[in-house]
């Protein structure tokens, strides 16, 4: 197991370097001359030439790549083309923080609906409730956020006036409820599906029967023997689910008018502010890679059976 962890730890920086290379190449391939974009209306041929030299755009690609990676390692993603004189990190950080809060809220929704419901469906296998839950979750999962978002706005904000229709007020505000539900519900559907499957797996195990035979109460068997073991495989999909929800949050931010990373990256595309976009994509990749790394390692630690193999 130690060999596995070491191998993963050694491979991760290489993986990130390759991802950075890919992102960097896409950035250099992006349309528009960075120097020209940077100068805006001060762009004269002379100025452009000087600016290109200053920005190091005339250096060979490998040199520029190593400069870029060197900067990224120090937390410097370069300067924005669009917002004069501001570093990319300065622009991306507050937006990313907003998106993260939104996604954490969504994850809380997804987990707190998904896991109990999946467990319940598995326990009710053979009754009408199980397929009812499974099918309604499939319906919800297939429901695009374009549908849930406008529906929730129309119903809870426009009709009932319970919560504001759009905007952002931080993690502990009413405004976060609708977007968090919008992102969290499809996520919950994924959790229901996996939790149900893994609970069914555990219920059939002999140690569960033994526990029942020993005369342990249903509550103890359910929570100590079944639910705990059923949770293990579900943990591994947490990373993928979060990545999926993150993608969904881009759209949700747009519909709800939330000043998060989704809004920012979209603006960056149309303003041709590629350093911002590439930084965002790279940060997203970094987070996903690390989340999966941590989950994989945590998994080998939690589950002794894997450790022994």
């Amino acid at each position: 197991m130690l060999a596995y962890i070491v191998r993963r730890l050694l491979w991760t920086p290489v993986l990130l370097a390759l991802a950075a290379f890919f992102v960097f190449i896409m950035g250099t391939w992006a349309p528009g001359d960075p120097a020209e974009l940077r100068l805006g209306n001060r762009a004269t041929p002379d100025n452009i030439k000087r600016e290109r030299e200053r920005m190091g755009l005339n250096d060979p690609i490998p040199v520029r790549y190593f400069n870029y990676v060197g900067g990224v390692l120090k937390g410097d993603f370069g300067d924005s083309y669009h917002y004069q004189g501001r570093s990319v990190l300065e622009i991306v950080r507050p937006r990313l923080w907003v998106s993260m809060q939104l996604n954490i809220a969504a994850l809380i929704v997804a987990v707190s609906i998904g896991l109990p419901l999946g467990f319940y469906a598995a326990k009710k296998q053979g009754t009408a409730r199980d397929p009812a839950i499974v099918i309604s979750m499939l319906v919800l999962y297939a429901m695009p956020v374009f549908f849930t978002a406008p529906f929730l706005i129309l119903f809870f904000a426009v009709k009932l006036h319970w919560v504001p229709a759009s905007g952002w007020g931080g993690f502990f505000s009413l405004q976060i409820i609708l977007p968090a539900l919008t992102i969290g519900i499809p996520g919950a559907a994924v959790f229901v599906r996996f939790m149900r499957a893994s609970t069914l797996d555990v219920i059939g195990q002999e140690y569960v029967r033994t526990a029942h035979a020993k005369g342990m109460s249903n509550f103890v068997v359910n929570y100590r023997h079944v639910a705990r073991n059923a949770l293990l495989p579900v943990v591994t999909i947490m990373g993928f689910t979060m990545a999926g929800m993150f993608g969904g949050s881009l759209i949700v931010e747009l519909i709800y008018g939330i000043p998060g990373a989704g809004r920012l990256s979209l603006d960056a595309i149309f303003q041709r502010d590629f350093p911002v976009l590439t930084a965002f994509v790279l940060l997203g990749a970094g987070m996903l890679v690390f989340a999966n790394l941590i989950i994989d390692i945590a998994y080998t630690i939690i589950d002794p059976r894997i450790r022994l193999q």
């Binding site: 896409m26 319906v139 759009s166 965002f280 996903l288």
Partner: protein, 324 residues
């Protein structure tokens, strides 16, 4: 539909294999209904030019934001364009994107690279797998957006150059360039999953006795791959395709929603949804006053994704009985 698949290469199964699977599939009522829904939606898209009631770009400023009527079945949008016509053309976009990007990305690239990686192993396999890991290190949507945003201007320029040098017109305005951009941007989403699946199957199959026998008889490598190994991978491929198409369709809708996919005047379901929900500060007012304009495109997208999921589930049960 299933009967038309290439007859199985293995000598132990006969044509009856697929007929049995089809019968099994048909017994699952929800899945069968889903398949009918999918076929119906795809037919709408394919026959869009025939069943349209108006022209999809035809604006009529005297008839904007109308409700459904005999002339405009689904009503009209803010430019007075007929929503029914735009929906069927939007479906056509979805049909084109799902079919082409699956034929190229998943089937052509994914299957052949997977066959190669599984069969040759060693360095080929290692390099392919590592490349795949790099690609899947990115959150899907972000990667797709980055690709679409950086590739589009280059591709549009390229198409304009062709138009200029050959005197052809309409290459850019016909939307072909959009389809190519979307198709290429979706490649990372489609090829890796398929490739990993095929590779895994091939790793097992290449050790099977009948493959060893074929090799001992001096059968060439391409023939072993396509005649002996590929037919036995068909079932998982079908399952994977049916699960993946929903994701591909949704990705196109998302890209177009963001304004990075299909460009006006070509309609796309994503563009239609974006026009009602996400145009800056005005969004809430359009949404509040005319939410019914969202119904048709959203229901189509929803039905498609839901139906593909159900069909995928059923095919998984029918084709891989061991998985259960």
């Amino acid at each position: 539909m299933l009967k038309d698949l290439p007859p199985d290469g293995g000598q132990f199964k006969t044509r009856g294999h697929w007929r049995k699977i089809w019968a099994n599939f048909r017994r699952r009522r929800l899945a069968f209904v889903s398949l009918i829904i999918i076929s119906f939606i795809y037919l709408l898209g394919i026959f869009a030019p025939v069943i349209q009631t108006h022209d999809y770009q035809e604006t009529n400023l005297r008839e904007t934001q109308q409700g459904p009527s005999a002339d405009h079945w689904f009503g009209t949008d803010r430019a007075g364009r007929d929503l029914y016509t735009r929906v069927v053309w939007g479906i056509q976009t979805t049909v084109i994107i799902t079919v082409t990007s699956f034929a190229t990305g998943s089937l052509l690239l994914g299957v052949s690279i997977g066959l190669a990686a599984g069969y040759f192993r060693g360095w080929t396999d290692a390099i392919i797998m590592r490349v795949g890991e790099v690609v899947s290190a990115f959150p899907d949507i972000l990667l797709i957006i980055l690709l679409a945003a950086t590739l589009r201007p280059r591709f549009v320029q390229f198409a304009r150059d062709i138009e200029d040098s050959t005197g052809m017109t309409g290459l850019v305005s016909s939307g072909i360039v959009d389809y190519v951009v979307i198709g290429v941007a979706l490649l990372p989403l489609s090829w890796f999953g398929m490739m990993r699946l095929v590779r895994g199957q091939v790793l097992v199959l290449r050790e099977a006795e009948y493959v060893q026998a074929a090799r001992a008889m001096g059968t060439s490598t391409p023939r072993i791959l396509y005649r002996h190994i590929l037919p036995n991978v068909v079932s998982p491929i079908i399952v994977s395709v049916s699960f993946g198409i929903g994701a591909i369709a949704l990705s196109e809708v998302i890209l177009s929603f963001f304004g990075l996919g299909v460009q006006p005047p070509r309609p796309s379901l994503g563009v239609m949804i974006g026009e009602v929900t996400a145009r800056g500060g005005a969004s809430v007012s359009v949404l509040r006053d005319h939410p019914e304009q969202l119904l048709a495109p959203i229901i189509v997208v929803w039905l498609l994704i839901f139906s593909w999921n159900i069909v995928g589930d059923a095919l998984n049960d029918v084709l891989n009985p061991r998985a259960r």
